[in-house]
């Protein structure tokens, strides 16, 4: 599955819903149905992994002396 590592949760979940919809539609050959099923399960596993591994990232915005916007990780003591 191409591009899967960079897919956001929403995009992956939406594709998952699309495979479910395709299977519900019913006008698929057996081969197509199996292919959709496999893709759907792959997407579901991917989503699951994203949820399990997610960690909140916290950053801070500031303005440098040159007046530029800079963003850096925030470490709260």
């Amino acid at each position: 599955m191409e591009g899967l590592p960079t897919l956001s949760y929403e995009d992956a979940y939406e594709k998952l819903e699309q495979t479910v919809a395709a299977l519900q539609d019913g006008h698929l050959s057996l081969e197509e149905a199996l292919a959709y099923y496999e893709e759907g399960m792959k997407l579901a596993r991917y989503c699951h992994t994203l949820l399990e591994k997610a960690e909140l990232r916290v950053q801070q915005l500031r303005v440098t002396d040159e007046g530029e916007l800079e963003i850096e990780p925030l470490d709260l003591a």
Binding site: Y13, G40, Q60, L61, L76
Partner: protein
């Protein structure tokens, strides 16, 4: 000596009058502003209001007449209110009271702040800044959440905890700011503008923990309200405790009662997403089962169809058809014969009833000319002496015409 002709021993009235004039002509007595706290405030049916203005060391009797109150649209007075009262001092001889005759009143301290709050709220509302139509919808699942708050505050830690628990998929971008004090409003505005300039946040939370009206005052400032209004990114306000309401709350796209509530409102709950994911997986499995079942049934149906179409079974079918037809044929034949026989019987009977023999048996005769055997049906057809043949039921009679 201010007034000439003053006696050595004064009457009360004389001294009172003197004091009154003294006070009313004095520069300070004529026009003065006094600040203090109201106590013993009482308004009579007449509309006149009497109260004492006091501070730690002294107190002053005041009277605020109805016409002055109405003329200056004075705020409602009550005990405990810190005010500045402007008017003139005089001496009320009847009661021997020194009083401030109040012309105007201004609220000080908290009272003043509440007034400013109401005035700004009314002005911005009139501009339409609080309209429901202005409020933008919040993104249901923001990938980046902006926060404007103090770096040191507990509010920040509380919000991060909520976000970490509910929705760790997000990234938080913090624009730190002062949240109270004289520099706070400008700092809040700068933080909001910074987040908008950076542009990645999909929603911004403006937050501050609980405090007094003075401590929360920065969020009632006009520049802060306008910065929230012009923010391209939707803003959730979470300022103070549940009962604190600031101007920022009115302008924001969503008001949350506390910083924690704001964080909760900003993001979805992953627990719900996990549940939905589980449902999708189950759906997939069920749908595939359905599919396989349907295919199996199709296959079986095809097999049955195939079996039906084989040569042997076709032969059997034809045989059966043939048997069926002959049976039908036979019964049809039977039926036809019966019908025909009946018809014949019927016709024969009818024929019989029409037979001339029956007529003859009833006594009628058939008369013919003997010569040519022509039927005689009229007297014109015979002559005298002509020979006739008369046929009766059981034979013929030969006769001759005797008379006509």
């Amino acid at each position: 000596m201010l007034f000439p002709d003053t006696p050595a021993v004064w009457s009360v009235a004389q001294l009172s009058r003197y004091l009154k004039e003294l006070l009313e002509t004095d520069e300070v007595g004529r026009e003065v502003w006094v600040r203090g706290e109201i106590s013993g405030c009482k308004t009579y049916a007449s509309g006149h209001c009497y109260f004492t203005l006091k501070d730690a060391e002294a107190q002053l009797l005041c009277v605020f007449f109805k016409h002055a109150r109405q003329r200056t649209a004075a705020p409602e007075l009550r005990d405990g209110l810190a005010i500045a009262a402007g008017g003139r001092i005089s001496f009320y001889e009847r009661d021997g009271k020194l009083q401030l005759y109040v012309e105007q009143v201004e609220l000080l301290g908290e009272g003043a702040l509440y007034l400013r709050f109401e005035q700004l709220k009314a002005r911005l509302a009139a501009e339409g800044l609080f309209e429901a139509e202005r409020k933008r919808p919040l993104p249901p699942a923001p990938q980046v959440v902006g926060i404007v708050t103090s770096l040191q505050a507990a509010a920040l830690r509380d919000m991060l905890r909520v976000l970490r628990t509910r929705y760790p998929l997000a990234r938080v971008v913090l624009a730190p700011t002062l949240v109270q004090g004289a520099e706070a409003p400008a700092a809040i505005v700068r933080a909001l503008d910074l987040l908008n300039e950076h542009g990645e946040a999909e929603v911004i939370i403006v937050a501050r923990g609980g405090g007094s009206i003075e401590e929360l005052w920065a969020f009632n400032e006009e520049i802060v309200a306008r910065a929230i209004a012009r923010s391209r990114i939707p803003v959730i306000s979470g300022v103070g405790h549940e009962t604190d309401v600031t101007i920022a709350d009115f302008v924001a796209d969503l008001r949350a009662s506390t910083p924690t509530a704001a964080a909760t409102a900003a993001v979805p709950n992953l627990a719900d997403w996990r549940a939905a994911l589980q449902e999708r997986r189950q759906e997939l499995a069920l749908l595939l089962d359905d599919f396989l079942l349907r295919y199996r049934e199709d296959l079986e149906r095809a097999e049955r169809e195939l079996a039906r179409q084989s040569p042997r079974s076709r032969l059997e079918r034809l045989q059966q058809q043939l048997d069926g037809i002959s049976e039908t044929l036979q019964s049809e034949m039977q039926h036809t014969l019966v019908v025909q026989r009946e018809r014949l019987k019927g016709t024969a009977l009818r024929l019989h009833s029409l037979s001339p023999l029956l007529t003859l048996a009833r006594g009628f005769a058939v008369v013919r000319r003997a010569e040519d055997q022509r039927l005689v049906t009229s007297i014109q057809q015979v002559q005298l002496g002509e020979r006739l043949d008369i046929q009766v039921a059981d034979g013929r009679i030969s006769a001759r015409v005797d008379r006509q």
